[in-house]
Symmetry: C2
Subunit: 347 residues, 2 copies
């Protein structure tokens, strides 16, 4: 997020980096997904981890005290775990207070708010430290304008929720950077925001400002610069399509990458709704997206093949590419198929 102009700081969350990862007293790896995601996708922004007594989960990063982390440049402690209730555990409070006292801000994506814990709030106020909730959007989001911005944009879109739009955007941004292309991952959900070090939680923005939020997220940039924007929901989702459309209009993407999952028949949490076809979902995205960028095109398909063996996945990917007449890849598997997808996006 280094390319965001200073004025955007009121319109887009900007997190203090680098991070120290807080693991609490976690003994189940499944509760530490955020910490693992940060280790995997923002390794250079993490100086180490901190765990309470009793924790057995580790990211493998150096285990540091708060002062050690501060001395290594850490600016915030990121809550990298959840407990089963999604709350702030009682035995986390003392270490969180110590982190503030050591000079770290605290970043959280939990449902429970840090500022609702009186001792944390009081300590942060006394020491002028920040308690940052990445679920809460910034305060000064403008209404959308539809104005065409300089630079290039790619948006991941999908047939449903939770099938790889964030992962695909991260992998594409990494692939572009590996080719020396000036690009930024732009985050629209809480995990992505922590990885990027900033962004806007699109689902939490007031509806009238949602397209404006998406506009703020990918501001004017150099002509050859790419913003790779994390998609949300689906235009054909019965509950969240409005968020997806505002994100599409405000992002004004030059390229969309369509994300689907092999074998998913019905919408997650809405079993009475069939997952729409990839072709239909591409068509409706291009049609609606052309309103703010008439040059919009589909760069290819990102297929989540996690339920398949490597051989099966390769067959399915090849067959889908043949059927749809465009590049298809599973970014997690990478390989030549993914390289072709990247080439197509850049073509």
């Amino acid at each position: 997020m280094t390319s965001l102009p200073a004025k955007a700081r009121d319109e887009v969350l900007v997190l203090p980096q680098p991070y120290l990862l807080f693991l609490g007293d976690t003994t189940e790896a499944g509760y530490a997904k955020t910490a693992f995601g940060l280790r995997d996708w923002a390794r250079d922004k993490c100086v180490g981890e901190f765990a309470c007594a009793g924790a057995t989960v580790t990211t493998g990063l150096p285990r540091l005290t708060f002062s050690e982390a501060r001395a290594k440049g850490a600016r915030s402690l990121v809550i990298g775990v959840a407990n089963s209730g999604g709350t702030i555990a009682d035995n986390w409070i003392d270490p969180l207070v110590e982190a503030l006292e050591a000079g770290l801000d605290i970043v959280s994506g939990m449902h429970a708010r840090l500022t609702d814990v009186p001792i944390l709030r009081a300590t942060a106020e006394r020491l002028h430290r920040r308690l940052i909730d990445v679920r809460r959007p910034p305060q000064k989001i403008p209404v959308g304008t539809g104005r065409k911005r300089a630079g290039k944009r790619l948006l991941t879109v999908g047939t449903d929720c939770a099938l790889g739009k964030k992962y695909t955007a991260l992998a594409i941004a990494q692939g572009f950077q590996a080719r020396g292309i000036d690009s930024d991952f732009r985050a629209t959900g809480q995990t992505g925001i922590m990885i990027a070090g900033g962004g806007i939680p699109m689902d939490a923005v007031i509806a009238d400002f949602a397209a404006g939020a998406a506009e703020s997220l990918s501001p004017d940039a150099a002509a050859g610069h790419w913003d790779i924007i994390e998609g949300q929901g689906s235009l054909l989702h019965p509950a969240y399509a409005g968020v997806s459309l505002a994100l599409l209009h405000g992002s004004q993407p030059d390229v969309i990458v369509m994300c689907g999952e092999v074998g998913r028949k019905t919408m997650l949490g809405h079993p009475e709704f069939a997952v729409p076809s990839i072709e239909e979902t591409i068509d409706i995205n291009l049609r609606l997206g052309s309103r703010t960028n008439p040059a919009i095109r589909c760069g290819g398909i990102s297929l989540n093949t996690s339920s398949f063996s490597a051989d099966e996945a390769e067959r399915v990917i090849a067959a889908e590419s043949e059927r749809l007449g465009m590049p298809v890849a599973d970014p997690i598997r990478g390989g030549a198929a993914f390289e072709r997808l990247l080439e197509s996006c850049l073509a």
Copy 2:
């Protein structure tokens, strides 16, 4: 809004009626649009008006003191005027306090919040009176489910903002009621909410809950009952399309009525965007709306012909009806064309 179930009261605003209309010290009719709208569309819910010394504007309703209004059954004082700054004028404060003391709640659609005036807030708290801001959505809006609800629904949609979606919905609801059809006008904007006595300000809902809000607004009803839902924005609006799509999906309309304005070439406030054609806007609404109601159809077109003479309007309406092959009417002009539009919606 009498048919809203009790549980909906946490999900939908419900205003205390009947009203006393507050005119302040207004001397310009243009600032009293809300009061005139309530007089014209909710006459049976207005016991009278109250004006401060110096006011020259009147709705023609009986001028009452707060006690007289209370004795006639009034339950709230509605701020029916705006001043040029959209603020609460200093010389309104004393009468507003008196209204609370006389037993009236206060309803406002102004940008300035009643609760930000300390004496109003303190008085309301002391007397257990409510200060209701119709720009603020209720607190317990659920996420959308897409579940098909009983009863019938009509949604007004449009090519742009501010061209007659509220007016059209009100006229259709009135037309249905005149034919003895059990129906309710469902409001999604502040003026509509005051007229209906309740509703949800769709533009102020958090994006993730927007479709859920629309679902709450038109709950299950008897098979022959119609909800006539006030539309918002346009699916082709660069800033507000997300709101329109959430409202379309959550309303799951059986019938849409497309609202356009003759002669409007560019989007209001977005002159670089052409107004889409009526045919294109109908097509995209039917296509996206079919996701939550596969039986969706277009009942006809509501054409705002306010810039034309009566003769010209009649010619344009006939020509558009011929061209589009469906009923076209200007609800403000009414007449046989509007009757044909109503018939088509009910067909």
